[in-house]
């Protein structure tokens, strides 16, 4: 195993334990995995950021 693989396994393994059932949230008949919920949250953050952050144009701020 390479050093990078060993290090990444050690670091990510500590953050996300994949050797166990996933976590889920329940809301009535809706059931969502926490992983998917995080992805949806990131997409919403991306959407809001894309609207709010100015687009840098070539040649200055005209």
């Amino acid at each position: 195993m390479s050093v990078i693989a060993a290090v990444s396994q050690f670091v990510l393994g500590a953050l996300f334990d994949l050797n166990r059932p996933g976590h889920y949230v329940h809301w009535g008949f809706i059931q969502l995995s926490v992983a998917n919920l995080v992805v949806i949250g990131i997409m919403i953050v991306l959407f809001v950021a894309a609207i709010l952050i100015p687009y840098r144009r070539e040649g200055g701020d005209r």
């Binding site: 990131i42 997409m43 991306l46 959407f47 894309a50 609207i51 952050i53 687009y55 144009r57 005209r62």
Partner: protein, 242 residues
């Protein structure tokens, strides 16, 4: 046969069409295609100023992710299941295929949100919106059959969970999610073809009608689109400033 410019049809803007050939379907089709998408509109050098926003980037990000999906899928098809299940490089390309699909959907949904809140169907852009929706649905089907093609416990679980839902629609008679060969063929032939064609039409429609302007630039009272403009009058007015 040589082309005589004096005999060219004066009613068409295409050079090189003889009058006696103008009624041929090839000439008509070519004329219609050039009328709908002249080269400067098909591949423009400049975009309207309002396109300088990050929200407009997500459409092309979706296309970029789709390109990675297709290329990695082709590599997987060339090398075969043993390679992508066993070898480290195969694992890597397999992961690239998965994560480019994840990126594709994330970018596509943000693009969808942006298009929805801008009411991107304005200005005769209804078909663009409809083909975007079809692209989304076809992509969901492609991703679903991809999960069924993994050849692991995950695909078995998804297949057995999905069969009852599919059967309840009546589609199970011709679309059997437990039939691995059929799902693989749908995943690597039929559905990618559908997604490719639909996305292609979507992009051509975007080029034909132009990118939808923000609401403030599309208020009533603005003059009509000038001929040959790529979008609304407002967009044409500021075109070239981006």
């Amino acid at each position: 046969m040589t082309v005589d410019s004096e005999r060219e049809s004066p009613t068409r803007n295409l050079p090189g069409i003889l009058e006696e050939d103008a009624e041929q379907w090839t000439a008509k089709l070519r004329n219609a295609a050039i009328d709908a998408l002249p080269p400067q509109r098909l591949m423009p050098d400049r975009q309207p100023a309002y396109v300088a926003s990050w929200i407009y980037v997500f459409g092309v990000l979706t296309l970029a992710a789709l390109a990675v999906v297709i290329v990695t899928g082709m590599v997987l098809a060339i090398m075969g299941p043993t390679w992508w299940h066993v070898s480290p490089v195969g694992h890597f390309v397999n992961s690239l295929h998965l994560w480019s699909v994840e990126s594709f959907f994330a970018f596509m949904v943000v693009h969808l949100w942006g298009s929805f809140f801008m009411a991107a169907w304005r200005g005769k852009r209804r078909l663009t919106w409809v083909f975007g929706a079809f692209a989304f649905l076809a992509s969901v089907g492609t991703a679903f059959t991809g999960y069924l093609s993994q050849q692991n416990f995950d695909s078995q679980w998804i297949g057995t969970q999905a069969k009852d839902g599919i059967n309840s629609t009546g589609a199970g008679a011709v679309f059997n999610v437990l039939n691995f060969g059929q799902m693989l063929m749908w995943h690597i032939v039929l559905l990618p073809l559908a997604v490719g064609v639909i996305v292609g039409v979507h992009v051509l429609l975007v080029r034909r009608r132009g990118v939808v302007p923000p609401f403030a630039l599309d208020e009533p009272g603005a003059p009509d689109d000038p001929p040959g403009s790529s979008g609304t009058a407002a967009s044409a007015a500021i075109e070239g400033e981006a």
